[in-house]
């Protein structure tokens, strides 16, 4: 079958990195991603299914990889060549539509789960991700054993599948379903704010949570904050008009341009600006971009002993951590999803919250464009420049692909 595949090629990664300065399309052409013929992956064992891809989103981490900016950290956690694509809605052989929870967790890899009922992303030992009967791979879309969503077909373990429409309130169109995975990521980041919000010194006033960046993940975080974290005043720094409109619609209290975020947080906190830093600031800041500049900005606007949640994959960044040290700021990663404990004490799967949220917000409104796999250069270029082109999410549409 024809699929998009990433090969391990240091030279291609280097060329992509250089070319990305010119344009995303050029980076795609010269980089490690090829539109090529690949074999359908074998079913690794019992409990595995063939999934025909219907829609597969293009994520920021995918773009980072294609443009050669991904961290060397992943060298030992992925296996080449792999087919990317982890934001997927697909179809099983019996016609059931499924949403993929892409983490290749304990069960998928033949290990006992860390606790009964654990989600694929749970656990505090990632050894299983690089061992077991599958090649290394943190998720579907980074593992050569399973394939990924940027192909007409891949394999997925039962533990990764959420069947659409089998539970009340879970039916949804493909265009909505493809947004569930990024929504789960954003909601997970939002819930990482909850403990700090609950522990704030002055519970009579809402906690300030700033969200820097309003792409799909940032917007999902805003939605998650508004729905699942009570007593928050949400301030969003969004660059583009459509992002600002969605941020407001998803429940932000204040939406400003990125340059205005620090002032907006200061106004809400009623604090001073001392040099580059606020004297107080947001209780929690969620960085949905992940560059040196945005992490630095987050550290500047987060109050002493507050938390910075890194939702956007940061890769190599250069930071002056003196402020973090002095202000005892907590830097918290927000990679994925699993089992969440809500502020009211209930536990549930992030994906269930994401399905609920995507349905309530009609998340398909964020899906701006779809492309066939063969137009991957245009698709990736569109995704890489989504904001300034008025788009939010771009996806591959394989519903008409010949399987």
């Amino acid at each position: 079958m024809k699929a998009l595949q990433v090969s391990r090629s240091v030279s291609k990664l280097g060329m992509a990195r250089i070319a990305s300065a010119i344009s995303p399309a050029t980076a795609t052409r010269v980089g490690p991603l090829d539109y090529t013929t690949v074999d359908e992956p074998e079913l690794p064992g019992p409990g595995w299914h063939r999934v025909k891809t219907r829609l597969a989103g293009i994520c920021g981490s995918d773009l980072s990889l294609v443009e050669g900016h991904a961290s060397l950290y992943f060298e030992d956690w992925v296996s080449f060549p792999f087919v990317p694509g982890h934001e997927v809605v697909g179809e099983l052989d019996d016609g059931t539509r499924v949403i993929l929870e892409p983490v290749l967790g304990h069960e998928a890899r033949g290990f006992a789960p860390p606790f009964a009922g654990a989600a694929p992303g749970d656990g505090d030992d990632y050894g299983h991700l690089a061992t077991g009967h599958l090649e290394p791979g943190i998720q579907t879309g980074f593992c050569c054993s399973t394939g990924g969503g940027w192909a007409p077909e891949f394999v997925a373990h039962e533990s990764q599948l959420h069947r659409i429409g089998q539970q009340p309130g879970t039916d949804m169109p493909d265009e909505r379903a493809v947004l569930v995975e990024p929504f789960a990521g954003g909601i997970h980041a939002a819930l990482l704010a909850a403990p700090v919000v609950a522990a704030r010194q002055d519970p009579s006033r809402p906690a300030i949570v700033a969200v820097l960046g309003a792409g799909t993940m940032g917007l999902a975080a805003v939605a998650g904050l508004r729905r699942y974290v009570p007593d928050v005043h949400i301030i969003v720094g969004a660059r583009y008009p459509q992002q600002r409109a969605f941020a407001m619609a998803y429940g932000a209290d204040t939406v400003v341009g990125p340059d205005g975020l620090q002032r907006a947080v200061r106004r809400a906190a009623g604090c001073h600006m001392v040099g580059d830093h606020l004297s107080s600031g947001a209780h929690v800041t969620i960085d949905a971009v992940g560059t040196s500049g945005t992490v630095t900005d987050c550290l500047r606007i987060t109050r002493p002993r507050g938390r910075v949640v890194l939702l956007g994959m940061p890769a190599d960044v250069t930071l002056d951590l003196t402020g973090l040290w002095h202000r005892e700021t907590e830097l918290k990663g927000a990679y994925t999803y699993g089992t969440e404990t809500l502020p009211d004490g209930r536990t549930c799967r992030t994906f269930d919250l994401a399905i609920e949220t995507a349905n309530d917000l009609q998340a398909e409104r964020l899906l701006s464009a779809t492309y066939p796999l063969s137009d991957h250069i245009d698709a990736i270029a569109h995704a890489a420049t989504a904001g300034r082109r008025g788009a939010v999410k771009v996806a591959f549409d394989m519903r008409k692909e010949v399987h």
């Binding site: 204040t254 907006a264 200061r266 009623g270 604090c271 001073h272």
Partner: protein, 528 residues
């Protein structure tokens, strides 16, 4: 003999009219046979012996004893003076404040007064920089007072240095600078640029706190002031008069010194800006072209510096001292004598070129809030009788109106623009919903008290200043402004004057009358 003001009826032979456009200019051809241009009176002659006139005034005050007789050993003397917002542009050295204060200090020294403090009457304006204080007071005064802590700038947020004097019959609270309030004599040194300035406004406003100022700096009062240049039709002035009455009863003895300037504001090589266009010589045209092209090509920062460094040759035309109200009556008449222009009837469209400067951006940036304030707060109010534009008419401003602010001078303006104007442009709504938060913001207070920042509430006051115009006019258009910024102000952007007139036709019809008020120099239209 200077020529009086003049109203030109535009015909086909009329050359294009010069409009200020921030740190630049536009030449606009206004429609013939239905447009007119109001030119300010030419500058009156300045007094030849200024120092002599100052001395004579101090020795022969109005309704008060001569200043030397009010001075005695052991007394507490405070000399307050207008801040950097006056005059515009700054005058060539020596500044009038220096000349007057030096003579007052000499008389105080002769009388054996040794408790003297100088006080800049900032109200909620920014603190003056050292170079600005030196310019206003002269190096000798500055060096004698500042190092000893005797040159102060009024701090409206220092509770320990404010004195509550009482309330008016309408419940308006009067709280002013404690040192001034407790002085045996408060000498106030004023430069009266427009008919709005001076009188009780000098002390009851210039030395007041937010608690006091909020009683008249609010949308209701501003909206009911028709105009600020016509004191008896101004609720703002009536409020300060009521406060003045309380100050007279419970405040310090005040020796008011008021001066007027002529309108000779353009130094070489910019004199052509004061000329009527049809009187431009070939040299004037060349100077215009050279200046216009130079500033257009210069980086904005450099263009700003060129204009902000301009020192005007304007000079004193009168000085009167003594009792506040008696003095101010004469001062106001002197301002009118220089600035009044008789204008017959109102117009459908009023145009105005907004220059690079207003009272609140000296050595700073004319930000969008100040563009609004200069146009709708100041220039719109340059009338007596009736507004130049008819009710429901259109006001057209020309200014680049960029989204640019000076973060040191105008920190709360940036937030006001981003936060408040995003929510509302209605002065009443913002006053209820937002003013308190900005007025009490600790960071703004800190910057006002220790840096060179306008008070947190100041952008609100600037917005209120235009309340009457906003309510009265049917549409406001800004020509040549940044479109997004203009829209955020609640106005309509237009790329050219012709576009603006086309847009205005929706409001005032296809053949409206147009009046351009060609200011600066300052003038007051006496609309019949």
């Amino acid at each position: 003999m200077p020529r009086p003001g003049f109203v030109l009826n535009v015909d086909r032979s009329t050359p294009p009219t010069l409009f200020w456009h921030g740190e630049g200019f536009r030449l606009e051809k206004l429609p013939a046979d239905r447009s007119r241009v109001i030119y300010a009176p030419e500058p009156h002659d300045a007094i030849d012996d200024i120092d002599g006139a100052i001395r004579a005034s101090l020795l022969n005050p109005i309704d008060m004893d001569p200043l030397p007789t009010l001075l005695f050993p052991g007394m507490k003397l405070t000399i307050a003076f207008d801040d950097v917002s006056l005059p515009l542009p700054k005058m060539r050295r020596p500044d009038l404040r220096q000349r007057i204060i030096e003579q007052v200090l000499t008389m105080a020294a002769d009388a054996g007064v040794d408790d003297v403090e100088l006080l800049a009457a900032l109200a909620l304006h920014r603190r003056m920089h050292e170079f600005e204080l030196r310019h206003a007071l002269g190096d000798r005064v500055y060096d004698a007072f500042e190092p000893r802590g005797l040159l102060k700038q009024h701090d409206a947020e220092d509770p320990d240095n404010l004195a509550f004097l009482g309330t008016t019959d309408l419940g308006e609270e009067i709280e002013i600078n404690k040192r001034a309030a407790e002085s045996d004599l408060l000498v106030y040194v004023n430069i009266n640029l427009v008919a709005m300035d001076g009188g009780w406004k000098s002390t009851a406003v210039g030395l007041a706190s937010y608690r006091s100022l909020r009683h008249h700096h609010n949308p209701t009062t501003m909206e009911a002031s028709h105009s600020f240049m016509d004191q008896h039709a101004s609720e703002l002035h009536k409020s300060t008069w009521r406060m003045g009455k309380v100050m007279r009863e419970h405040g310090p003895k005040i020796f008011q010194i008021e001066t007027t300037l002529n309108t000779d504001i353009y130094p070489q090589p910019f004199e052509f800006l004061a000329k009527r266009e049809w009187e431009w010589t070939a040299k004037d045209r060349a100077l215009y072209l050279g200046t216009a092209k130079s500033v257009a090509k210069a980086p904005p920062r450099m263009a700003r510096k060129i204009f902000q460094n301009m020192e005007a040759p304007h000079q004193m035309t009168s000085i009167q001292s003594g009792e506040v109200e008696a003095v101010h009556k004469i001062t106001t008449q002197n301002v009118y004598d220089q600035q009044l222009v008789e204008v017959e009837g109102q117009t459908d469209i009023l145009t105005m070129g907004i220059p690079y400067i207003c009272p609140y951006n000296v050595h700073s940036i004319m930000n969008p809030i100040l563009v609004m304030c200069t146009g709708l707060g100041y220039f719109f109010n340059l009338y007596r009788g009736k507004p130049l534009v008819r009710e429901g008419g259109v006001v057209i401003l020309t200014h680049p109106t960029t989204n640019e602010f000076n973060p040191v001078h105008h920190p709360s303006y940036i937030d006001f623009f981003e936060e408040v104007l995003a929510d509302t442009t209605d002065p009443h709504v913002m006053s209820q919903k937002w003013e308190k938060q900005y007025a009490e913001d600790e960071w703004y207070k800190h910057l006002y008290r220790t840096s060179n920042a306008y008070h947190g509430v100041h952008p609100f006051y600037m917005w209120y200043w235009g309340s009457h115009a906003m309510k009265y006019t049917g549409k406001v258009i800004i020509v040549g402004g940044d479109a997004a910024t203009v829209r955020k102000l609640g106005f309509t952007p237009a790329s050219t004057m012709n576009d603006a007139l086309e847009i205005a036709s929706d409001t005032v019809g296809r053949h409206p009358t147009i009046t351009h008020i060609k200011t600066p120099p300052l003038m007051i239209a006496d609309v019949k």
